[in-house]
Symmetry: C2
């Protein structure tokens, strides 16, 4: 999903239908592993693919990952939801 565009926690919960606490946990793990980084944006925290991973294996993994799952129906569906999602409609009320 983050390969489509940077996302905040609430946008991800909206696509995956998981609790915010669950999504936050997963993002924390991905961040500590070096796959993603976060950027504070006021009330929100944007998460995005780490543009400059310290470990070249991370870049390699992300490229391969895309190749492995890009054709999965569920992945296509989730990516589509990401592209259509608008934080201002989904998150704030």
């Amino acid at each position: 999903m983050l390969q489509t565009k940077p996302l905040c926690v609430c946008e991800i919960t909206n696509v995956l239908r998981l609790a915010a606490s669950t999504v936050s946990q997963h993002l924390k793990i991905l961040k500590e592993a070096g796959f993603i980084i976060e950027e504070k944006d006021g009330k929100w925290v944007n998460y995005l693919i780490n543009p400059r991973p310290g470990d070249p294996r991370i870049s390699s993994f992300l490229t391969s990952l895309d190749f492995w799952i890009a054709e999965e129906a569920l992945i296509i569906s989730d990516k589509k939801k990401v592209m259509e999602s608008d934080r201002n409609i989904i998150c704030a009320k």
Copy 2:
């Protein structure tokens, strides 16, 4: 380990120190997923990397896997054990 050379169940148990039933289970899963194949050899069953995977993602994965873990101390150690292991000494008594 199978990227080093084909192995039978008892050689793998000897390196990993796991029960034969455990190793057999794992190999079954890898076989059903298309990563490895088996070749009967009398009393033994040799397992080896699938030389002609139906799904190109499998070849891709195996190549990447090697890149990701080749430098891990545990992997190096296990590969060394594999290279030194001799079925006739380890398995039969």
